[in-house]
């Protein structure tokens, strides 16, 4: 057993030494080196990945790790100290319906995210009003013919509770209306990608997603007669959009601040961010 103890001890010692050296490296880091961890919204993920790529090219010593799950994981990860930046589709430093404020966190606006109502390609309807959407999601309207389509059951696809897309869609497109679970023809998906696949492969399906993800597989419908485009968001006629935020513990410093500054910079906002179909924050003022 003695040998055993020795092995365990030396292994532990090695682990400690490695950890210590990493910690040392991190604390000795200059202003623009180190590691930035970004966690949270899948809606903001394409933007974060693109920004990280460009930022790392300019600052080779900085490493950025980004991943996405649901919006609320962002501020939660920041609270727990797992992530430096929590990407969130709402301002998590104040109360929103269903979620309490994360105290001590600062919300940094980084983008405007437009959301779109999408339907399967076989659906003939291409415009829906607020009242119609409310009816569909509350379970009062169950057939497409009630909103001017063919005689077919509506398949409602929605995101799980806690998704930022859902929070914003419910607040803006449904004007705070309920999303009610139904006996049949109701399905929840876990991420923006799943939502798109589900709507694309299910005939008569309706769902919602951020505009960035909309492509030829699904059809984006007009909202109260207004098409879901960046121009209509900017000129104020299309209402379903929200600011995307980077949540940080206190005011950002060092490499984290530099990264957020880069994302907010004119160069990125007018360049890559626009190309990704997000909208620059300055456009909304």
């Amino acid at each position: 057993m003695k040998l055993f103890k020795k092995i365990t001890f030396s292994a532990l010692a090695a682990v400690f030494a490695v950890t210590a050296s990493f910690a040392g490296a991190a604390s000795a880091a200059g202003s623009l080196s180190g590691k930035i961890t970004v966690n949270g919204s899948t809606a903001l993920l394409p933007l974060t990945l693109q920004a990280a790529k460009e930022f790392q090219r300019m600052n080779p010593k900085v490493r950025i790790a980004a991943s996405g799950k649901g919006s609320v994981t962002g501020p939660q990860a920041v609270k727990k100290g797992i992530a430096d930046i929590g990407a969130c589709d709402w301002d998590a430093s104040i109360d929103v319906p269903g979620f309490k404020a994360f105290s001590g966190q600062v919300a940094n606006k980084v983008a405007v995210i437009p959301f779109a109502t999408i339907v399967n390609k076989n659906v003939g309807v291409d415009n829906l009003t607020t009242e119609q959407l409310k009816g569909i999601y509350s379970g009062k309207i169950t057939n497409w013919k009630e909103v001017g389509g063919a005689d077919a059951d509506i398949v409602v696809i929605t995101r799980a509770f806690g998704s930022g897309t859902r929070v914003n869609y419910q607040a803006k497109a449904l004007a705070g209306g309920d999303i009610v679970k139904k006996e049949k023809n109701y399905k929840e998906t876990g991420s923006s990608g799943d939502m798109k696949t589900a709507v694309a492969t299910t005939p008569n399906a309706i769902g919602y997603i951020d505009l960035v993800y909309v492509s030829g597989d699904v059809k984006a419908v007009k909202y109260n007669g207004v098409a879901a485009t960046s121009e209509n968001v900017i000129n104020g006629s299309y209402k379903i959009w929200a600011y995307g935020y980077y949540m940080t513990k206190g005011q950002p410093t060092g490499a984290v601040k530099a990264f957020i500054d880069y994302v907010q910079s004119k160069k990125f906002q007018q360049g890559s961010l626009k190309k990704l179909k997000f909208i620059p924050i300055s456009a909304m003022k």
Binding site: L3, F4, G190
Partner: protein, 314 residues
Amino acid sequence: MVQPTYDSTPAVNGSLHSKGDSGKRHVRHLLANTFARYYFLFSILALCLVLGLVIVFIGKTALLLLGQISPADFFLSFNWTPEEDKFGAAAFIINTISLTALTLLISVPVSVGMAVLTAEIAPVWLKRFVRPILDLLVGIPSIVYGYLGLTVLLPLLRRASGESLGDGLLAAALVLALMVLPTIARISDDAITAVPGKYRDAAYALGSTRLQVILRVVLPAAGRGILAAVILGMTRAIGETMAVVMVIGNTPQLAKTLFTPASVLTSNIVMQISNVEFDSTWNYALHMMAFLLLLISFLLILVIRFLGRKRREG
């Protein structure tokens, strides 16, 4: 594996050489044996520790739930509306059990049949063809099965049943059955191959047909192995998450028909765990569901083992 062999062959070899050499050999073997013994002991202890930690940590968070809501509310209520502080998990528990049962109902006959085919009936070239394919199928990540279920199986089910969604227990059970099929088939195959040839010879000598030999002699003799295969398949089915999430519909309600969009323990946990605040009743409820999953699979394994033993004794 290192075995204490220094009193057989190495000693004979050693005696041909000098005495010192044989002594060194002896010491080397002794060391190797001691090391191996400690290594195995360490592995077993590490495994127990990890398993214990999993149970303790999940259990600890799970039991916090009981301070917040009553067990009756959790286990007997069908109302899962966490937004309104209603945490009834009965529907998930029943769905999980029925999904596992349905999966086994579909996959066990097929996979044991395949095992009989590859082990007893098929010509050598077919065996060489089927076995590697089954091995490959085991290694495919479950999310791939889920995606195929979503894009290929669901449209087929929709066309066949006339449903407009198609998600539900049947879709999930079919996907799971395909996933556990290679596991059950390959392990049963090994069990059947391991049945001594003399049993078959004796049965044939008594004038049995091939079917009689397989049904009356080979399958009962391989029973324990096949049972182990079914247990492995079952534990995979009950804990499988990613594939199920994509085809079951994720609606927290009791599955009254095979096509009702429903939710099982695993799919509900994975859909919600990341969107839930850490210190909330909701989080404790999800941990309780995970703990329950542990208990259910543990209980099912016990039951099946017990049944297996009874049948062998009877």
